[in-house]
């Protein structure tokens, strides 16, 4: 039987809830302790995800161009289907109060609106059309052997760091 531990974190976890809610970090992180290899279940799904990304050409710069030029339905079909499937899944989980495999209640933290979604979203959109890749496809492109994308990835990493550094000075 798995042990539940009451919340007294040894390391100072981030108590800035604005930061957390901004960032899809688990506000409701599970308190059930699990061994590191438990994370392999995420890797396994990631592998499937990476195969789909490659085979449906979602990581293709060309497909992103087509999407923004409104000349192909492909990417709209992918994202639209994903949202519909996700929406139905979330509704089913809520309606039937489906628990996680560990028996915990599923909690989806609410995102709060701030100006970052507008300014940051615009900036990301501009970059997305140049690189032809959002963060997920960056990992997939590197895995697929497009080694020069390592530069794009390092730059995206740096961009995230610089955002963190100037975060307090930016309008939110």
């Amino acid at each position: 039987m798995e042990k539940t531990i009451n919340k007294t974190p040894a390391v100072e976890t981030n108590t800035d809830f604005e930061v957390r809610s901004l960032d899809t970090m688990c506000v409701n992180e599970s308190q059930v302790e699990r061994p590191w290899w438990d994370n392999l279940k995420y890797s396994a799904w990631g592998v499937l995800f990476g195969i789909v990304f490659f085979k449906a050409e979602i990581i293709s710069w060309f497909r992103i161009q087509e999407m923004f030029r409104f000349e192909s339905f492909h990417m709209y079909g992918v994202i639209g289907t994903a949202v519909v499937v996700g929406l139905i899944s979330v509704q089913l989980i809520k309606r039937f109060n489906i628990k996680t495999v560990q028996g915990e209640a599923v909690v989806i933290p609410n995102k709060t609106f701030n100006k970052g979604q507008v300014y940051g979203g615009l900036l990301f959109g501009l970059g997305w059309a140049i690189t032809g890749a959002c963060p997920g496809p960056l990992f997939a492109q590197i895995g697929a052997g497009y080694s020069v994308i390592i530069v794009t990835f390092l730059s995206a990493w740096a961009g995230t760091w610089v955002y963190g550094y100037f975060r307090d000075k930016l309008p939110h």
Binding site: Y119, F139, G143, V148, W157
Partner: protein, 187 residues
């Protein structure tokens, strides 16, 4: 069977599998789908500096790094064993437009005229790799998520801030594609 798998996969199959990521992550570990957070966790793990935004227990979010690691491995496997030998089939309009900008090589998923190491040290290469990448990393974190966290996870759970973010992603992409990229491509 293998021949069928090597063909490009249809949008509805890809969309369904990507959509299923949402319940999978929720049910196996109470995790919300989001990929750009991985970049933040890498900052926290490797170069936190003295930045409050990166001072948290990133190991609790390590699942996200396992997930993106899997994505790279999956793409490697697909590229190695399931690669389609034929050139990518583009919409006619896109193909004609790109040809007018000197981009005609459709044998790979990324145009070889731009995405190669030789191009890195040109002005165009600098913009496509360094500036573009920086905007993706900075913008997604500023927006609090990317296509996965906002467009898919956020919209799936009916969060209107995610709708705002998704609309802005599209506005940015359309502005770049129609008004700026035509110049950048010919640099």
């Amino acid at each position: 069977m293998l021949e069928t798998l090597k063909q490009p996969w249809p949008w509805y199959l890809a969309g369904a599998l990507i959509g299923l990521t949402v319940p999978y992550l929720l049910l196996v570990g109470n995790k919300t789908f989001g990929i750009s957070s991985s970049l933040r966790h890498l900052c926290a793990a490797c170069i936190p500096g003295d930045v409050k935004f990166f001072k948290y227990d990133w190991k609790k979010e390590a699942w996200n790094l396992f997930f993106v690691g899997g994505i790279a491995v999956g793409a490697f496997l697909a590229a190695t064993f399931l690669s389609d030998p034929n050139p990518i089939v583009l919409a006619e309009g896109t193909q004609e437009y790109l040809a007018s900008k000197g981009i005609t090589d459709t044998s790979h998923l990324l145009p070889a005229e731009i995405f190669s190491w030789e191009q890195l040290f040109t002005l165009r290469g600098l913009i496509f790799f360094v500036v573009g990448g920086f905007m993706v990393g900075f913008g997604t974190r500023y927006a609090g998520g990317c296509t996965s966290g906002h467009a898919i996870m956020g919209l799936s759970s009916l969060q209107w801030p995610s709708l705002a973010a998704t609309v802005m992603f599209m506005v940015g992409g359309i502005l770049m594609t129609w008004f700026i990229l035509p110049y950048l491509l010919t640099l």
